[in-house]
């Protein structure tokens, strides 16, 4: 047994390929036998991934889901930013340049609208829960933008660690919800063409949520959504600690 564990821990990334392969196979088997193919296999695989992340988090107590359990550590590398970004860029290989140009304005507008809208909703929820300090309200609103904008903003305007943790949790909740709910609402919101995908990426902004949500909806739309989503966090880090913080402070003064 120790020999097996040794081999697994010495070949983490290779083991991760096999583990994810099994998850994919199981998901496609489930979707064929239980739903007759109506739910996308990758949507089920992503949900299984999230459940494993929860199991890993409760067992190991870390912040990297199943990757904090030693024999599954390779999942952390395979699902980390390096491989994710590499694969996202590869999906651009099939992109139609004219679609991209045509949706450029709508996509750009949606990035700014998305940051402001998510921030306002997050800030209002903070107020609703009884917060009255502009620093705390801004930081929690920033978390509703993405779980990166939250802590960046909190650090910049001097929020306490408890509020920063809340903002990260809000961003994580958003990201996970986008991953799981996008395939369910795609038809309702007309998310079936490149332009809508670019707007979706710009409004949601969470790269992990957007890319997983689109993968589970229609993989052909992934590069369009990813294109705008990768600008979102940067715009959020620009606007929230500066302009939006001043607005919140002005309104509460």
């Amino acid at each position: 047994m120790t020999e097996l564990v040794d081999v697994i821990t010495a070949n983490q990334l290779i083991v991760a390929f096999a583990v994810v392969g099994i998850i994919m196979w199981f998901s496609y088997w489930l979707t064929d036998t239980l739903t007759g193919g109506r739910i996308h296999g990758s949507a089920i695989a992503i949900v299984i991934g999230l459940v494993l992340a929860w199991v890993g988090g409760t067992r190991a107590g870390g912040s990297r889901g199943i990757a904090d359990i030693e024999i599954f550590a390779g999942i952390g590398l395979m699902g980390g930013a390096m491989f994710r970004d590499f694969a996202i860029v590869a999906t651009a290989f099939g992109v139609d340049w004219h679609e991209l140009k045509r949706a450029g304005i709508a996509g750009t507008v949606s990035i700014f609208a998305g940051v402001v809208v998510s921030f306002v909703v997050g800030a209002l929820v903070a107020v609703g829960f009884g917060y009255s300090d502009p620093v705390a309200i801004t930081t929690i609103g920033a978390g509703a933008v993405t779980y990166i904008v939250g802590p960046v903003t909190g650090a910049a305007i001097g929020a306490g660690s408890e509020v920063i943790a809340l903002s990260v949790a809000a961003g994580l909740a958003k990201s996970i919800l986008v991953m799981t709910s996008t395939p369910a609402v795609a038809k309702l919101i007309g998310l079936d063409n490149p332009q809508a995908a670019m707007v979706f990426g710009g409004l949601m902004g969470t790269t992990s949520g957007v890319t997983a949500g689109l993968a589970a909806t229609d993989p052909k739309l992934v590069p369009y959504g990813a294109m705008t989503a990768t600008f979102y966090t940067g715009v959020g880090c620009l606007l929230v600690p500066s302009v939006l913080f001043l607005v919140v402070r002005g309104m509460l003064a």
Partner: protein, 128 residues
């Protein structure tokens, strides 16, 4: 050769991320601004340049399409390493803020998708 495609892909990503970092420090932001998006644009542009055709066609293309096809498995691995426990530990406030942001953003998609679509914009000449 397959490695040509893989090498092109990695060159695009590294260049894009570097430009994203530069853009971030230029506007004074502690984040990479659009690095991956810039990398995607680089790949699309190079794909359309005749001079680099040997890097994006034939066996070389396989080095790019392989990673494109690995995208969904990588996303599944990404899901499995999310801090799901952390999201739930944030309690009702964190979940309400996240859910609210998502619901309102979803509602805006049909509205914003219409921006700029009124005149049929397909008249652009093909600039291969």
């Amino acid at each position: 050769m397959i490695i040509y495609g893989v090498a092109l892909l990695s060159a695009c990503l590294v260049a894009g991320l570097y430009l994203g970092e530069l853009l971030g420090s230029l506007i004074g932001v502690q984040a990479n601004v659009g690095g991956v998006g810039i990398a995607m644009l680089l790949l699309i542009v190079i794909h359309n340049l005749p001079r680099f055709r040997h890097l994006t066609t034939g066996p070389s293309a396989g080095g790019i399409t392989f990673w494109s096809a690995m995208y969904i498995p990588i996303v599944v691995a990404m899901a499995a390493r999310q801090n799901v426990v952390g999201a739930l530990d944030g309690g009702l406030l964190a979940i309400a803020a996240g859910v609210g942001a998502v619901v309102v953003s979803f509602a805006l998609i049909p509205l914003m998708s219409r921006i700029g679509t009124a005149p049929a914009g397909n008249a652009e000449p093909d600039d291969d």
